[in-house]
Symmetry: C2
DNA sequence: TGTACATCAGTGAACGCGCGTTCACTGATGTAC
DNA sequence: TGTACATCAGTGAACGCGCGTTCACTGATGTAC
């Protein structure tokens, strides 16, 4: 096994001419590039390099750079959806569940900055891709559900308009908070502290200004 | 005048070997590129091309591509600051002034998408540039002033913490709204209508959920 | 169980492209006398 | 008012770079018989 001759371009995990798991390896490579250099620093050649494969290899798995990134973005939306659903399961009070969900949104963004920025970077993705839309809508639905429950706790049956307005407000707030945090606009306020503890300290009370 | 021989590479507005106004022409060119292709589509060579000048010419006015873009971003922050100050001058009720200011923030973003995205795209700007920080802080101060007046209308003397929290909430909301709008995430809701009318229709009521 | 062969998943060299930056240069302008 | 000359603001060719994509190819795998 270990004695098997490895081809010149080989890399840890690679054992022969066929990679065996190139599709997943390229996705992992893409995510690591995104973390280090953001969506703009991504290149297909670099992803191939990190997967230990020739520059032409990705063609067999993804139509193009945008195709690979679209896959990563779809996976990102799916994980965000999971995080939001999970957060809405915590706690008995609808209001605190909604707040937990907002915190989960921002935590996802700072935990996976590359992936998050990519998800909202349509120029880098396949245009008008149905999977992206569907994955985005699924995440939106989680937020909508939490808002509906929250509003339902006050008036018996919230109107669709009221729900939509509150979703717009909550989504804008957490999205803006996440973007500003990732762009370093809070660095002066954060000072020595860690960004995560700043979020934990400030975000819930910020969200409480909206949900009261 | 009109009969004057123009050099081969000449372009409207150019009249001789010396451009005469290259610095401003490059800034204008940069803004037009940003509008068309976003911060990622910017290149110094293209800016030089649009200004009707050789690729090496910008060196005499800006240290690098990041230097030119930093200039554009600083101007953007200055204009945003003006818009915010202006908005806070409209209306007698502090609450409606704050809401007007939020609307002005988003209107600025959709009116100058390239400039706006650039301002929050630190990877494209000179790192740790003092002018950017100062220009950003000036805009922040406008928002802070409006929030302080708004909160002051309720309790007699709002605490700094309360002001900071409200600023964070308001800034996050308008910034997120703007980013999501520019990224096309509202396109399904907008449908046939124009983005500006969607903003006018939805944003004030969204902000009212926060300011009440 | 062995063999022939189609298919799959890679290689690696080559393409043309646009980029930022450098270099020696030169035309235009402004100033000193 | 005229002239010499320094300085400024451009030119355009060249550099090396990394990119996405193409191409003819080949090693490995899996299947039919």
């Amino acid at each position: 096994m270990g004695a098997k001759r490895a081809p010149k371009g080989s890399v840890a995990g690679r054992q022969g001419y066929h990679h065996g798991n190139l599709r997943e390896a390229l996705i992992d490579a893409a995510e690591s590039i995104l973390v280090e250099h953001g969506p703009e620093g991504f290149s297909l050649r670099e992803a191939a390099r990190r997967a230990g494969v020739s520059p032409a290899a990705p063609q067999h798995h993804f139509s193009s750079a945008a195709g690979l990134l679209t896959e990563v973005a779809v996976l990102g939306f799916k994980e965000l959806t999971d995080r939001l659903r999970e957060a809405n399961g915590r706690g008995k009070i609808a209001r605190s569940r909604l707040i937990e969900q907002g915190v989960a949104y921002v935590r996802f963004a700072v935990a996976h900055p590359g992936r998050f920025q990519l998800m909202f970077h349509h120029r880098k993705l396949l245009p008008a891709d149905e999977r992206i839309h569907a994955a985005g809508r699924a995440a939106y639905s989680e937020l909508e559900a939490a808002v509906r429950e929250y509003l339902g706790a006050h008036s018996k049956r919230p109107s669709d308009g009221a729900v939509a307005a509150m979703v717009l407000a909550a989504w804008s707030m957490v999205h803006g908070f996440a973007q500003l945090a990732l762009d370093g606009k809070f660095d002066e306020m954060v000072e020595g502290k860690d960004l995560s503890s700043f979020i934990d300290a400030m975000l819930p009370s910020t969200l409480r200004l909206l949900c009261r």
